[in-house]
Amino acid sequence: MPHGYHGCYLRIDVSQPAASERVQLSDDVLRQCLGGSGLGARLLLEEGVGSDFPASDTPENHSRPHFPDPLSPEAPLIFAFSPLVGSPLTTSAKFAVVSRSPLTGRFNDSLASSGFAIAGKRAGCDAIVIVGRAPRLSVLVIDDGNVRLEAADDVAGESCPVTEERLRARLGTDYRIASIGPAGERAVRYATISHDGRHAGRGGSGAVLGSKNIKAIAVRGTQRVEWAQPRELTELSRDLSKRSFGPATAKYRELGTAANLLTFNRFGTLPTRNFQQGTFDEAPNLSPEQLRTEYSRTRASCVACTIGCEHIYSLGGSNVRIEYENLFALGSLCGVSDHAAVLRASQRCDELGIDTISTGGTIAFAMECVERGLLDEPWLTFGSGAALLKAIDLIGAREGLGQLLADGSRRAAEVIGQGSIAFAPQVKGLEIPGYEPRGLQTMALGFAVGARGADHNRSGAYDVDFSDKVDRRHATLDSVGYAIETEDKAALMDSLILCKFLRRVLEDFHGESAAMLRAVTGWDVTADELRETAQRIVATKRQVNLLAGWTLAEDTLPDRFLNTPLPNDPEASLTRERLNDLVAEYHRQRGW
C-alpha cells in the first residue's frame, strides 16, 4: 500500500449499521484515480452497476441497467478523501461528496473543506460509502471507524449551524460534523451538505443524505498515515505556503470572489434578470467595495489554508459568508439591488442548506415566468427583495410555490410548459453559474459538456476567455483544446485534492503536483502520468453518465443563449450551429 492512504474504504449500510465493512482498495486503483472526485467516481461506478462495470463506451453498455434512483435507499453516497489530506500542504483539507444527482440524474461531485476531511481520514479510511435508509431520522456516528446510529430528534428541522453546535455539545468537541438543513430533510433537489459554514453545494447531495434519513455525520479518529518523504514534503509545503501569500491570490484575500461582480458587469457578462441582460445598473451597490462600507467584515480560512478567501459580513447580530456566486444568483440574476436583502437571502440559504446558485437561478426563472404571464404568482417580481426571501422560505419548506421550485428550474419548466424550457437557466438540470455564456464562449462550451451540468468549478474555461488566447465572443475550434485543458486540470485538482485558488500559484501545475504526490505516496509519478490520470477521471465521470442514460443531445445550452444576442452587446452572439460544432470537436478530441 502506498504512503498517504489507508488502502480501504468504509462501507456503511445505514439500514443495518452493525454490518459495516472495510473494503480494500488496491494500489493500482488508488494510483489510477487518486482520491476526491476521481476515487468517488470510481466507487460510484462499482457500487452503482456492480464490480464488472464496463470498461468501454459501446452501444451494448448503453442498454445496461441504469443506476437506482438517486433518492432510493440503494443509491450510494460517497465521501472521498485524498492522499494529501492531513499533510502540511496548504488547502489540502478537502473532501468530495459523490453520487448521482437528484437534480440532474447525472454524475455529481461537490467539494467542501476543513476539519471533516481530516477527521474522516483519521477514522482509518480513504472514503466512506453510505447506502441504505435508516429507520428514522438519525445521526451517523463514526468513532475511529466504529459505526453507530443515534437519534436525531433534537436536531430535526434545525439549521446546519445549530445542528453542528448541538451535536458537538452532545458528542464532544473533537467530532467534526457534516449535516443537512431542513431542505435536505425535505428532499429539495439542490440541498447541500454543510460543514463548518462551508457547503458541498451543487447537485443536491444534501437531498441524497436526507433520503437515507441521515441528518448528520459525526466523525473522529486517531489513525494517521505516514508520508513517504517527510523532509521533502515539509520543504514543498513551506514553499507553497510562502508563494500562496503573493499577488496571484491577492484577489481572494482582499476582496474575495465577489471581486468578479464589477469586473463582469464592466464586460457585460454579469447575468442579470434571468440572463435577459449582461449588465446590472445597480451592480455597484452589491460590490464588495460597497459592502465593506456598510457592514463590518472579517476574514477566515479553511483548516490548513494560507489563502484566507472567506469574507464574512455581520448582519443583524449574526454572520454571513459572501461569495460572487451568492451576489450574482440572489442579486443581479433576480434583479435585486438591496444588499441587505441579498445578504439575508444568502444567510437563509445557508441556514436551510440549499445551493445559492440553483436557488437564485430557479427563482429568477420563476420571476420571468410571472413577467410573461406563465405563472400566476404576482408577488414574485424581479427586483423585490421581499419576494426573493419569501420564495427561499417556501422552497425550504416545500410549501406552495416552493413545492414546484424545490425541484429546480428544469422540472419547473416541464410543469409550467408553454415553451418556458427555452429560458430555464440550466444545463442537464443544473442551474448556470454567474458567467454569461454568450460573452464567454469558451466557458459556454465548458458548460455544455460538463458531466455534472453547467458549472464553473469543473471547467475553468472562463480563464481562457479572460486572456489573449481566444476571442471571448467568437469561439472557434481553437477554443476546444483550451476548454479540455481546464476541465482536465479541474478534475486533477478535485482528486488530489487542492484548492483551485492555487492554480495561478502553481506555475508548473503538473510537475509540481507530481512532486507533491511523490513526496506523499512514494510513487514515481510524473507530470505526464498526471495528465493521463486527469483524462481518465473525466472519462470515468462520463462513463457514469452513459450508464445513467446520457445522450449527446444533453451537451447543449438552453435556446435563449442560441437564439438571442446579448441586448447590450450584439457581438456576443452564439448560434446553435457554432455550439454544435464546438461540442462535436470536443468529443472528437476526447476520442469519444
Binding site: 503573493g246 499577488p247 496571484a248 491577492a250 484577489k251 482582499e254 476582496l255 470572489t257 471581486a259 468578479n260 464589477l262 469586473t263 463582469f264 464592466r266 464586460f267 457585460g268 467595495e289 461569495e323 460572487y324 456566486e325 450574482f328 453559474p433 454567474g434 458567467y435 464553473h456 475553468g460 472562463y462 480563464d463 476567455d465 479572460f466 486572456s467 489573449d468 476571442d471 483551485k500 485558488f501 492554480r503 495561478r504
Partner: protein, 84 residues
C-alpha cells in the same frame, strides 16, 4: 485615452480610472506606475505581472508593450483570475 482599474488593480491604484496621453501599452504602464506607486508590485519592466491582464475597450486582451492605442481608447486593467 482612459485607463480603468478593476478589482485588485483598483485597490492598489486607489482610483477607478485616470486619463492620460500615451500611444503604446508600454507608455501606459510607465505612466500609471509613476502616478500610482501602489501598482508597482503589479507592473514590471517586462509588462504586467501574470496575476493581472489588460483589455482594450472590453474587446481584445493585449499583452505586447508595443500595442498601439487611439486617442479615444479605454484600457481596462484587471485581475487575471476570474474564478468565483
Amino acid at each position: 485615452m482612459y485607463v480603468e482599474f478593476l478589482g485588485i488593480p483598483r485597490e492598489r491604484a486607489g482610483i477607478s480610472e485616470m486619463e492620460l496621453e500615451a500611444e503604446t501599452l508600454g507608455q501606459v504602464l510607465g505612466q500609471i506606475s509613476a502616478r500610482c506607486p501602489g501598482l508597482s508590485e503589479l507592473i514590471t519592466s517586462e509588462g504586467l505581472h501574470p496575476s493581472v491582464v489588460a483589455n482594450l475597450n472590453g474587446d481584445e486582451f493585449v499583452k505586447s508593450l508595443d500595442t498601439r492605442f487611439a486617442e479615444d481608447d479605454r484600457l481596462l486593467i484587471l485581475s487575471a483570475d476570474a474564478g468565483g
